[in-house]
């Protein structure tokens, strides 16, 4: 994460409001993970349960209808794997850097 200059009191919105909705996307949670989900598209039935159960909105629906994992936001909980009846999702250990 890049080091940012911290805002001074004159620059912070009045009362400490956050005026950029959804700006938590700037916060990197990917390092929390030890396993990551990998989707085997050939087995995916597009039931959407992984998407609606994911706590992070880390499963995204592509324009062509495919479900993909956005690894920027995945905390690696594995809920999607267990939700996947056709077993299209497998949790795979992250390579240690």
């Amino acid at each position: 994460m890049s080091k940012r200059r911290l805002k001074g009191w004159k620059e912070i919105p009045m009362g400490g409001m956050v005026t950029e909705p959804g700006s938590s996307v700037e916060f990197d949670v990917s390092a929390w993970r030890t396993f990551k989900p990998v989707i085997d598209q050939s087995k995916c039935t597009k039931c959407g349960l992984c998407w609606i159960y994911c706590p992070e909105a880390a499963i995204v629906i592509k324009e062509d209808g495919r479900y993909e994992v956005d690894l920027t936001f995945c905390k690696g909980c594995g809920i999607c794997e267990r939700a996947c009846a056709p077993r299209a999702i497998t949790m795979v250990k992250e390579e240690s850097a």
Partner: protein, 388 residues
């Protein structure tokens, strides 16, 4: 202009009606209750178009006020004593989140023992909450100050507490002149401020302020309070011009050539004036200083007024057990610390829990203050009228 016989509380209710508030959230407590009863009447009769929220506690009253104020609505509540204490934590949120709520605090002693009568311990306990505190000592002043309070709150975006003495001001009927309603509307037009909770903005309000930000966030409210000194002066000058009044941060009586003076807040300064007048007739150079803005504390003008005065008796109607002295005294003392030639300060506590302070007792306070002024030394705090 209409002249009515009104209690201090009813005078406040008339001011709130003229301010055309949008939301009132309040909980009954003596001696405040007749304010919100009157407002309920106004709402029930269609004389005031507002949502009256009958909350189940003062904590919820202040919480509802903060929520309502964030939408940009004009918001009012009133309380006393235990009610103010119960609001305590939310008061800090109201100021830090910069919600321009106007609240009347009808001053009453804090329990225990339970006591419904007047002193200033409730407001003093909230002096660090970031609220502007104005003090009114008559029904007319209560009405006028409440109208000003809306203007001040919405201008500097800080909540304003208008204090009036329980029963002495709140329940005493006086002839009150209602200001011209059209002029009030021009002075405080009732139009909503920005809705900070609008889906068009989708802001997050009341967030976690971690150590690297909390300080800056808190300082914003400190800065707002500091800047309010100048703004309140201007807003008050505008009020005085429009409505032919003469309100200011400090009322000074016989201070031009005073040798010594009593300093206090609220309605008891009236008795102090009467006693000072009789002392003056006997050739004494006695004066009276009445603090009208307690937050922001007008220490610079106080130093100007006290230039050349040799002794001041500070009358507190609240105590700070174990402190260097009591709350008003401490503020006066530290406010005057920068003066080249400081007056001697004598501390008094009087009138706790509604105890009457007689003219004789005021005479004693003047005479003790004079002694301190002449000797250049003050004694320990004097608990006026306390039985052994």
């Amino acid at each position: 202009m209409k002249r009515l016989g009104l209690s201090g509380n009813y005078a406040v209710a008339y001011a709130v009606k003229m301010a055309d508030v949008d939301v009132i959230a309040a909980y009954p407590i003596t001696p405040q209750t007749t304010i919100v009863e009157k407002l309920s009447d106004f709402v029930a009769n269609g004389e005031l178009d507002a949502e009256y929220v009958n909350v189940e506690s003062e904590h919820s009253a202040m919480s509802a006020c903060v929520g309502a104020s964030l939408t940009g609505a004009r918001v009012f509540t009133a309380t006393s004593s235990q009610g103010l204490a119960y609001m305590h934590e939310v008061l800090f949120m109201a100021s830090a989140l910069r919600t321009p709520i106007v609240m009347t605090n009808v001053n009453r002693a804090l329990s225990a023992p339970l006591n419904i009568w007047n002193d200033h311990s409730d407001a003093m306990a909230e002096r660090d909450s970031g609220w502007i505190q104005l003090w009114a000592s008559s029904a007319q002043e209560a009405l006028d100050t409440t109208i000003e309070a809306f203007k001040i709150a919405e201008d500097v975006l800080l909540p304003v507490m208008v204090n009036i003495d329980g029963f002495i001001v709140s329940h005493t009927y006086e002839p009150v002149t209602l200001p011209d309603e059209g002029e009030v509307k021009r002075y405080i037009p009732s139009k909503p401020l920005t809705n900070r909770l609008s889906p068009r903005l989708a802001y997050s309000v009341g967030v976690v302020g971690p150590p690297e930000y909390y300080y800056e966030m808190k300082y914003q409210a400190v800065d707002a309070m500091e800047r309010s000194r100048q703004r309140i002066k201007e807003i008050e000058a505008d009020f005085n011009r429009r409505f032919g009044k003469d309100y200011k941060d400090i009322n000074a009586y016989y201070m031009e050539d005073a040798e010594y003076a009593l300093l206090a807040m609220g309605s008891m300064t009236g008795t102090a004036r009467v006693v000072a007048e009789s002392l003056r007739r006997r050739g004494e150079r006695a004066g009276v200083v009445s603090i009208r803005w307690f937050r922001p504390f007008p220490f610079e003008r106080l130093a100007e007024i006290l230039e050349g005065v040799r002794g001041i008796g500070v009358m507190d109607r609240a105590v700070t057990p174990g402190g260097p002295s009591n709350p008003l005294f401490v503020d006066v003392a530290s406010g005057l610390y920068g003066m080249a030639e400081r007056p001697v300060l004598q501390s008094f506590v009087a009138g706790l829990g509604g105890r009457d302070v007689s003219t004789d007792e005021f005479g004693m306070m003047f005479s003790k203050t004079k002694e301190a002024a002449r000797s250049g030394r003050a004694g320990p705090c004097i608990y006026v009228g306390l039985r052994e």
